[in-house]
Point group: C2
Chain length 417, copies 2
């Protein structure tokens, strides 16, 4: 099944807001075998919206619009939808009640602009927005469906996941069987991995497809399988996965779609380890990535952001003479940071970074992108010096992922030995 997306809003065209909704919608639909046939981003103009919806319906029977419904918008989207699907503006009392509730929960006063959100075309079925004030609208004609959704990503994603997509799947049931398997690989480039897997990929039957999803410091490898019989699809998928493992096994760190931080928390849980971070150049982002995962408090004790040398020496106990002699960016300092945060917090694992994220601070000997990483697991400590490419943000991102994946490997090795 396919759906086309029309993302509405001048703010998307002048770059005030990036359309992340289309990607999120595609990601939510993919596991169920639904695909986005196309995405168009258009401004808040009746003509543009109308012609984009026309093209979208030409492409697929399901059209999803996002945006164009906020309180400060001209109500062009609703007008265009009435031109297409008929009906007249009516006040919906449940929407009005919802708007009132949300405004009062946020401690805000109801005003005319907000109240206008309760005016909806009589031709639609309203889906109450639990997450915001703009109602979702379901239109249907000649077997085709359009769902108008708000543009705020938190609302769009939440409502699409919980209500819109289940309703669409019910409306357009499918007998297709879909399977997805994901591997996380690290320590190999996308093109080297692709070259290694090329003969296997070429041998794949029509109903199996391999996708490469490169990230900073790791690659997600996803196998998608389709068919009509669950058993056959399952057997084909298993066989293909075994071949992937036999070809690229040494680079695979996980057999499931999981972030490095989720993987680390899983390993920590398995081995009863506790985690702490000692971050210089990553500035709290390793701790941020770990604590982004619900339930992380079971293993994560905390950490220190030792941005200044005084925090490195006074809080983490790094030898000031060592910093004087070799500078803060060296493996020895990172190792003392990792050991120091274990001592300070009582954690069994310490993850430490010290590096130069740029754009300033680089030298010939230690250029921007140089990051020393040290991982302490109980009484053992390993360190490495990496040279990451990219701008400040990307260097930090790569250092975060690399450090976490290194901790995963250390934990596994430690326990296997």
């Amino acid at each position: 099944m396919e759906a086309s997306i029309v993302a509405i809003g001048d703010e998307l065209l002048i770059g005030q807001v990036t359309d992340t909704n289309s990607g999120s919608i595609a990601r939510i639909m993919a596991p169920a075998g639904w695909k986005v046939a196309g995405v168009e981003v258009c401004g808040d103009s009746g003509d543009e919206i109308r012609s984009a919806i026309d093209r979208a319906f030409h492409r697929s029977n399901v059209v999803l619009t996002t945006g164009g419904l906020g309180p400060t918008k001209d109500d062009i989207t609703k007008q265009v939808l009435m031109e297409i699907f008929g009906g007249e503006p009516v006040e919906n009392s449940e929407v009005l009640e919802n708007v009132r509730k949300i405004m009062s929960r946020r401690g805000l006063e109801m005003n005319e602009l907000t109240a206008a959100q309760a005016i909806v075309p009589s031709s639609c079925e309203v889906i109450q927005n639990r997450l915001g004030t703009a109602p979702l609208m379901w239109f249907e004609r000649d077997g085709k469906v359009l769902v108008a959704m708000p543009g705020v990503p938190f609302e769009t994603v939440g409502m699409f996941t919980d209500e819109v997509f289940p309703k669409l799947q019910k409306r357009f049931p499918s007998n297709e069987v879909i399977e997805h398997r994901t591997f996380i690989t690290t320590g190999i480039s996308e093109s080297a991995l692709a070259e290694m897997l090329a003969p296997f990929e070429e041998s794949l039957p029509e109903n199996l497809h391999l996708a490469y999803l490169p990230n900073a410091s790791y690659i997600r490898l996803r196998l998608d399988a389709k068919g009509v019989d669950k058993k056959t699809v399952n057997k084909d998928t298993d066989a293909a996965c075994n071949r992937i493992r036999s070809i690229a096994g040494e680079y695979i760190v996980a057999n499931e779609d999981i972030t490095p931080a989720e993987l680390l928390l899983k390993e920590a849980d398995r081995y009863g380890a506790t985690l702490a971070t000692a971050e210089s150049c990553t500035g709290g982002n390793i701790a941020g990535a770990i604590t982004a995962i619900p339930g992380s408090s079971a293993s994560m004790l905390g950490g220190v952001v030792s941005y200044s040398n005084s925090v490195k020496t006074n809080v983490l106990g790094v030898d000031p003479e060592l910093i004087d002699r070799k500078g803060a960016v060296c493996e020895e300092v990172a190792m003392q940071m990792a050991a120091g945060v274990c001592r300070l917090t009582g954690s069994t694992v310490g993850i430490a970074t010290s590096g130069i994220a740029g754009p300033g601070g680089g030298s010939a000997e230690k250029p921007v992108g140089t990051v020393c990483i040290a991982i302490a697991v109980e009484n053992k400590c390993e360190s490495v010096t990496m040279h990451f490419a990219g701008n400040r943000q990307r260097i930090i991102e790569r250092a975060v992922n690399h450090s976490i994946l290194m901790a995963v490997k250390m934990l596994r090795n430690k326990k296997e030995n």
Copy 2:
């Protein structure tokens, strides 16, 4: 001047990757008065790419494509471009040299897939990609220009900023004068702000436009002005900005386009303050936001992520009896954390959070979204209990922004008194 964007790649349609490039391109062009006329996302199919490019040229004289050029891709995009602009595949020795350099810098071996990137249509002018292996291609015919760019955001954004956009502006020079002014407002909802500014907005002449850009915890308000005479545009903009200040001044925290963290660093620099963080529910993200800014090490000393109570008591010196009596999520604990991190690091400003980001851990008394924030500035400490809506990620994001903006206000008040 307008440009249309065609974002190419199956990965965009199945949600593996979100197209952030289109938003970035729009954001880069906007200050120069260039607008994106439309964005289409299409799959790696010759027919889809061809018809999307056709529609894009129908809309504007400049078409920008992103993606469809990576080493693991079928070379469909290049083929389609040769069908449209003519030419034949030729090897470009400079591109080959560039690919070789980049691969060796990354410590990777050159392979057939990577080397194929040096094959380009003879009908294009090559723009060397300094940031990756896929070359950029500039095509021109009948006064229309198409620039094919890679899809990796870091490469797209870097190359578009530094080379493609300057070249486009030279190719299509404009006499239009553009001005943008941005205000950061906080403590007021988008609709309340819009209602407050409605009469002013309606009174604006054609060439002035006001845009609302809501973020977690704050709103960016942007005034765009166009004209032919620099002096007049400047005078009109100044006058409009003065009116905005007189209407909504109490909610304005900055008169420029600046993130809360940039604003805090500016204030810290102005007052000679040093910064430290003590984070529980925000898990290192306040420190991460501050250290994301180049040069932050001038004021930022570091911080503690006190995720567990033991780190709160042992490292930050929070009274364990207080935690036993009132729980870790209360303003008293946040205040002791803020004071504790100042003591520990010698910082003049301490920013502390303790809250429940969810999805678990909430109670009737302290529901998910409850976040206690405390800011210590020298010997003064202020605290507040907030109730943020949204999922875990959004609650953390709001708590980060709110804490930083609260620190900005405290710093200003402290120094004014």
